[in-house]
Symmetry: C2
DNA sequence: GCGGAAACGGAACGTACCGTGTCGTGTCGT
DNA sequence: ACGACACGACACGGTACGTTCCGTTTCCGC
């Protein structure tokens, strides 16, 4: 996450103040009003200090968001793949439904299309590892006979996360538990059913 | 689409030049360099004229993109729901894969989170009508016995489009025909299979 | 036709934020 | 102890914003 002059002398105090201010501003005034200058002013920090360690405000918020997401959506294994996927997806949906994390992630996604480095960073540090974890959990269910061998697990992950992103990006009202349960059930069915 | 002072005296010449310049600039220099000032300069038009008819550059591009999308992804009914969905999704993916439409739509999506009016406009004028069309096509397949009665058709549409948005937003390499076919097959299976 | 309302192009304005540079201070490794 | 370096602060030029003013052109209604 730290970008340029890796150093031990970095001020942890400033780092925390910057991440906190970024999220706070996102809550109070919305992502559009989160600017480098506003973060610096709110955190009592020089702009230069922010630019020294992060390439953009998107990168600042990505670091803050990643920490929160990993805590909020662990991959558990109770032996029931359906229940575990439901609680996992519900955790992600819930995190996205509350400020500042929903707006923050929407803002991060909105920067991807004009910021190649941020897009790569998001995929490498957040999306890809968690997709791998999800596939791992599905493979475990496969070993327990809850999913047929040969099932297309990467596709299953995209079918799970796809609608969540779709809703979040289009800003449709959040999904309730019932919708999440129906989604998970349909994805699992699609893996089990005989070929079309 | 026309926003404020509905009038017959609007210059169709300026309107076309603005939409064309917006898409051209998107191709040549990327969405990030499409600004109201650049559009005005390229189209030989006053900024005031743009602000008179559109509330933002996102609204300009939404109007241009909508026209293109409707042409590119019709809903046909050959009697084979699988084939029809494959060609429909392939049309959408293909449109998103070529400039200026891919970058333009990514840019539009990126504006939604800080522009409530644009988000509402996108849903009402583009997404919701096409979701309804998709549900209509699925219902027709239901009547022909290709999909069981009682299937959750709205959810099916989200499972179809979700991964497309997911990939587009995260800027993962475009889906090939095989992936699209697998996606469509899985969605149809999930509707047919016995309950989980 | 003719007069006037309204849309037009062009130019300039102040504001906001960007990303960078400079400078003096303070602090942390060696 | 000392020197390197991160720090805060402040100022800079640059870009795009959204608005305002001006003089011109276009077109509707009379």
């Amino acid at each position: 996450m730290i970008t340029p002059p890796s150093s031990v002398r970095r001020s942890e105090r400033s780092r925390r103040a910057i991440l906190r201010s970024a999220l706070d501003l996102c809550t109070e005034r919305g992502y559009g009003h989160v600017t480098i200058e506003a973060i610096a002013a709110d955190a009592g920090v020089s702009k230069k200090t922010i630019y020294r360690w992060w390439p953009s405000k998107g990168a600042v918020l990505l670091e803050a968001f990643t920490d929160a997401l990993i805590d909020a959506t662990p991959f558990v294994d109770t032996g029931d793949i359906g229940a575990d996927l439901r609680s996992h997806v519900a955790g992600a949906v819930k995190l996205l439904s509350v400020p500042p994390f929903g707006p923050a992630y929407a803002g991060i996604l909105s920067e991807l299309h004009h910021d190649d480095r941020l897009a790569q960073q998001l995929r490498e540090q957040l999306v890809d590892p968690r997709v791998e974890e999800a596939i791992g959990r599905l493979r475990s269910a496969q070993d327990q006979g809850q999913i047929p061998p040969g099932a297309d697990l990467p596709l299953a992950v995209e079918m799970l996360y796809g609608p969540v992103y779709y809703r979040h990006v289009l800003r449709k009202p959040v999904q309730d538990e019932k919708t999440i349960a129906a989604l998970v059930d349909h994805v699992l069915r699609s893996l089990r059913a005989p070929g079309y």
